[in-house]
Structures are given as structure tokens and as C-alpha cells.
């Protein structure tokens, strides 16, 4: 499988990363080089083998489906880029692209 420039533009859009044309071209080359090494996986017989879940370690106990708030030592205002009346502000959605 080979990644095209169009693929790079698509995944950059999915990942919300702006890439210059020049950078997109170099990323395509880099990803193709990296993925060529991943092709070795196709030589492994995985018929009937389950996918790993997490680290595969049987240690994660069930717990109550309830969340405990994490006490914060400083308010949202101290680290949120833009805030009003306790709500996080974002740019207007009217200019947001609606088609992926």
C-alpha cells in the first residue's frame, strides 16, 4: 500500500493539522518509508488469534460506574485560553466546514 499526496491531505484534515504543500509531500515520503517496514506483519500467521486488548494483562477490575470530581487547586481561568461565565469559548461555528 502506498500513501498518496491526496491521502496525506485527507488524514491531515481528519487530524485537524494544517500542512503546507511542501510538508505534505515530505510527509508522504516519510510515511511510505515507515509503512514499508510494517509490511513484515503480513508474514505472520494470525488466523484465529484474538486482538490484544490493552496490555493484555488481566488486572483491570470492574468498578462502580460513578465519577469522583478531581479537586483542582486553581480555577479554569488560570489555564483555559478563552472563558466567559465559566464556559469555554470557541470561534463561531458558522464558518466551520460541515462536510468531512
Amino acid at each position: 500500500m502506498s500513501i498518496t499526496l491526496e491521502d496525506v491531505r485527507h488524514i491531515a484534515s481528519l487530524a485537524r493539522l494544517g500542512l503546507s504543500e511542501q510538508r505534505a509531500e515530505s510527509v508522504a515520503t516519510e510515511l511510505n518509508t515507515i509503512l514499508s517496514h510494517m509490511d513484515a506483519l503480513s508474514t505472520v500467521n494470525t488466523e484465529g488469534v484474538a486482538e490484544a486488548v490493552g496490555s493484555g494483562v488481566r488486572t483491570m477490575p470492574l468498578r462502580d460506574d460513578a465519577s469522583a470530581p478531581i479537586p483542582l487547586v486553581r480555577p479554569l481561568e488560570s489555564f483555559a485560553p478563552s472563558l466567559r461565565d465559566g464556559l469555554l469559548l470557541v470561534p463561531r461555528l458558522s464558518s466551520h466546514e460541515t462536510v468531512e
Binding site: 488524514i11 515507515i34 517496514h37 510494517m38 513484515a40 490484544a52 493484555g56 494483562v57 486553581r74 485560553p81
Partner: protein, 481 residues
């Protein structure tokens, strides 16, 4: 190396022969003496002498109240991706420039409860993605033993802080070898505990099924004490194991007579530097002389670890790092509308390696490629885990291997991303399987340290430490000479 071990510093603090304030003064003086600042070694992302002195005052109060915490009065450096309340937590990234966490990582709370003195936030590869600590917004960290070379990564700043003798203990994090490989390059001890053994609450997530908090020590005992303090169940981390924590430093009394040590052939390929092979085999011979049994064993899927790791880790990273979008914390760069703001913020905030891995992860999870890459990688990961299960079920207590295929390489020497990824070839398997592993110095090649790695079954840290203590004693000054 630090003039005093963690145990000696603690004892002197309790007896009154040393005060926490004097200890901080000594660490600050050591920073100046070795050139820990940006202009030379570039060990720290954030350092504040006044902050360290505040923590020293708290340690003094603990002592005056009769405290005997395991790290009382011991300065501990902390990687810049572990949340602290009084210093920024920026993951070596511009996207978190100036961010100070509103909550504290459990491991830091545990350190402070044990009387430790948090001493600076150490430099790292951005978001822990790298094997050299060259990919930080704050510039590269240099190896204290050979400043023209890398300290390894991604926890290179923490490794350098210990190797330069600033602190005897430091915290790092591991996703594919980011504690053990820099420990190997810097001639110190680095431990990756079992998955779930140490809480990740407050560790900025990179790849959640692979991330661990790890410990550096100047010696095996320093690392054992550090791990003893930070290990244990944490209800705030759903992956945390609820199991008793042994006194790892008690393993120094255990004999290795009868211990079965596996030498997996896949970690000693023909391409391995013969001098590294020789150091490993010499270490195994010492262990055999002490009564251990050394067996040749096989972990047949080892060569698949890097392809699996570099699919699974970027896939998880692409999800975890989606939270850095300019809305909730960190930097915001205005753009056209909401999407423009997202793209401008993330493109300006993330460096090239992080961008590359987010794109790689997005690709392997995207429609049409998921089965060929991500699903296949998770199936092969199951087989890698079975390799470990089978070898330990066969009666092997611990495995011994080289930690890395090379010694520390010159800064700027590796520009090909995949060549850099291969630096993790002997370490990524333990992260994929969730088993504990550690690196310790076993000698030099061309004047540079070589690390030997022990691995054990899940929650088998005591056996690993017993072997490591014994080997350290047997090698003595040979390990670092």
C-alpha cells in the same frame, strides 16, 4: 554520579547530619558545576531553586515531626510530562507552553508523602515521542558522560540529571523504552514496572495501553526505593493493580542461586555489535558463577515488536493528542473559524515528530487501512505477549538481554525516523506485553556505557531486582569502568 545514595541521604536527614535545605543547595551547586543549564547539558525544561527550597522546608517539617519516609530529604527530578502543582507541565512542547496543571500526579503526591524533594522538571522528547531527547521545544539534552552525544530518550533529561550527579533518583515515563534506553546510554539504572503497578493519574497520556511511569536511580538500590514509594493501587487510574507492594530494596538480601535466567536468542542477532554481546555474556557468566542457571530460550515474535509498536502507539497517540486543540488548555492560535483555529493551533504547537506520528496513527485507524495495520498489529501483539507467558511458564524466572543495540550516538547522527525507532528494538516488547523490565550498567564500549536488561513476569519485580542487585555487586566498578 550523586555523591550520596538515596538511602544515605535519608539516613543523614533523619539523624540530622544533613538538612533538606543543604541537600538542595548541594544539588543547585552541582547543576552549576556540570553546566545543567540550557547553554550546555540542557537537563531541565523547568527549574526553580526557590520551589525546591519550599519542598525542602516541607521535608524538614516531616523530619521534625518524626517522619521516616523512604525518600526523606532526597531530591527527585521529575519528567516534564508528569503533573506538578508548582512548576509547569509542558511535555517539551510549544502547545503546552506555560501550562501549570491544576492537579497533581499521584506519583508526585506519593513522593512528597515519602519526604522527597521534587527538584525541577526534566527535558524530554516532545510528548515522549523520541529516543534521543533531540525533539524538544527547549532544544536537545546532552549526555553528561559525552556531551557531543545524546542521553537517549524520551526521558533524557531525567537520565542526565541522575548521571550528572544532581539527584540520585528521577522519574521518567516509558511507552517503548524511554526509561531503559536512556539509562543504558547514561550508565545508570532505569526501571519500567509492570503495567498497572504504578498509577498514571497525572501522566500526560501518549499511548494508554503502553504508557508507564518509571524510575531512574544512580544504583539499583536508589531505583528500588524510588519504585517502592510510587508503586501501589490508585482508584483514580482504572488500570491500576490492587496488589500488595513488596519492599523492592529488600531484594538485595536475596540469593540468585538456582535462579533460572533466560537468554533469548532473538535479542542477540548476528548483527549485534560483538562488543555489546560480549559484555552481556560476561554479565551472564558472573550470574552463573553466583549459582544462577542460564538457559537459551526463544521469544519468536521479537522482530515484529517495532512494526507492532509503531502502529499501536501512533494510533493511540492520534486519539490522546486530539485534546490539544486550543480550546481547553495550552496555546491557541487564531484561524478562520473553529476548524481554522484547530489547525493553526495544532500545526504551530506540535513539532515534526509528533505531527508525523499523529498522521501515521490517523492513517492506520482510517477506513480501508484499519484491518491491514491496526487489527493485524493487535493480533501480533497477542503473539508477543504469549511469547513471554510461555517462556516464564517454562520455568524461566527472568530474562537477560542487551538494553539497546548501540551505545549513545552523536547528536544529529540519526535523521531517518525508522532508524531512530530501531533504538527501541529490545525494549518495546516489555511495553507491548506489560511485563516489568530494567536496565543497569554492565560495562563500557569505546568509553561509553552499555546497559543490560532484565525482564520478569507481570508483577515479578522482586526477582528482577534480586538479579540486578546481585549483578551490580558482582560487577562492582567493572560495570562503570
Amino acid at each position: 554520579m550523586s555523591a550520596l545514595s538515596a538511602a544515605a541521604l535519608r539516613d543523614q536527614t533523619i539523624s540530622g547530619d544533613a538538612s533538606p535545605a543543604e541537600t538542595v543547595d548541594a544539588a543547585v551547586a552541582r547543576c552549576a558545576a556540570v553546566g545543567a543549564g540550557r547553554e550546555r547539558l540542557n537537563v531541565f525544561a523547568w527549574a526553580d531553586d526557590a520551589d525546591a527550597r519550599d519542598h525542602a522546608a516541607l521535608a524538614l517539617r516531616q523530619r521534625d515531626q518524626g517522619g521516616t519516609g523512604l525518600l526523606l530529604g532526597v531530591p527527585v527530578a521529575i519528567k516534564d510530562n508528569i503533573a506538578t502543582l508548582t512548576l509547569p507541565t509542558t511535555c517539551g512542547s510549544n502547545i503546552l507552553a506555560g501550562y501549570v496543571s491544576p492537579y497533581e500526579a499521584t506519583v508526585v503526591t506519593k513522593l512528597r508523602a515519602a519526604g522527597a524533594i521534587p527538584f525541577g522538571k526534566t527535558n524530554m522528547d516532545e510528548f515522549a515521542m523520541g529516543s534521543s531527547t533531540e525533539h524538544s521545544a527547549y532544544g536537545p539534552t546532552r549526555n553528561p558522560l559525552a556531551p557531543d552525544r545524546v542521553p537517549g530518550g524520551s526521558s533524557g533529561g531525567s537520565a542526565a540529571a541522575v548521571a550528572a550527579g544532581i539527584v540520585p533518583v528521577a522519574l521518567g515515563s516509558e511507552t517503548g523504552g524511554s526509561v531503559r534506553q536512556p539509562a543504558s546510554f547514561c550508565g545508570i539504572v532505569g526501571v519500567k514496572p509492570s503495567y498497572g503497578r504504578v498509577s498514571r493519574f497525572g501522566l500526560v497520556a501518549f499511548a494508554s495501553s503502553l504508557d508507564h511511569v518509571g524510575v531512574f536511580g544512580a544504583t539499583v538500590d536508589d531505583a528500588a526505593r524510588g519504585l517502592r514509594v510510587i508503586a501501589g493501587h490508585d482508584p483514580r487510574d482504572a488500570t491500576s493493580v490492587d496488589a500488595p507492594v513488596p519492599d523492592y530494596h529488600g531484594a538485595h538480601e536475596q540469593s540468585v542461586k538456582g535462579l533460572v535466567i533466560g537468554r533469548p536468542r532473538e535479542y542477540f542477532p548476528d548483527s549485534l555489535d560483538p562488543r555489546i554481546r560480549e559484555r552481556c555474556d560476561a554479565a551472564l557468566e558472573r550470574l552463573r558463577e553466583l549459582g544462577a542457571e542460564v538457559r537459551d530460550v526463544s521469544l519468536p515474535h521479537t522482530s515484529m515488536a517495532i512494526p507492532v509498536y509503531y502502529i499501536v502507539a501512533p494510533a493511540e497517540a492520534s486519539a490522546n493528542l486530539s485534546r490539544f486543540d486550543g480550546v481547553r488548555y495550552g496555546m491557541r492560535v487564531e484561524g478562520e473559524g473553529l476548524r481554522g483555529m484547530y489547525e493553526a493551533t495544532r500545526s504551530r504547537g506540535f513539532g515534526p515528530e509528533v505531527t508525523r506520528r499523529i498522521l501515521l496513527g490517523t492513517y492506520v485507524l482510517s477506513a480501508g487501512y484499519y484491518d491491514a495495520y491496526y487489527r493485524k498489529a493487535q493480533q501480533v501483539r497477542t503473539l508477543i505477549g504469549r511469547d513471554f507467558t510461555d517462556v516464564f511458564a517454562s520455568g524461566v524466572d527472568v530474562l537477560f538481554t542487551p538494553t539497546a543495540p548501540t551505545t549513545a550516538f552523536p547528536i544529529g547522527a540519526i535523521s531517518d525516523p525508522y532508524e531512530m525507532y530501531m533504538s527501541d528494538i529490545f525494549t518495546a516488547t516489555a511495553n507491548l506485553a506489560g511485563v516489568p523490565a530494567m536496565s543497569q550498567p554492565i560495562g563500557l564500549v569505546d568509553g561509553l556505557p552499555v546497559g543490560g536488561q532484565f525482564m520478569a513476569a507481570h508483577l515479578g519485580e522482586m526477582k528482577m531486582f534480586a538479579a540486578a542487585y546481585a549483578l551490580e555487586r558482582a560487577l562492582g566498578s567493572e560495570a562503570r569502568a
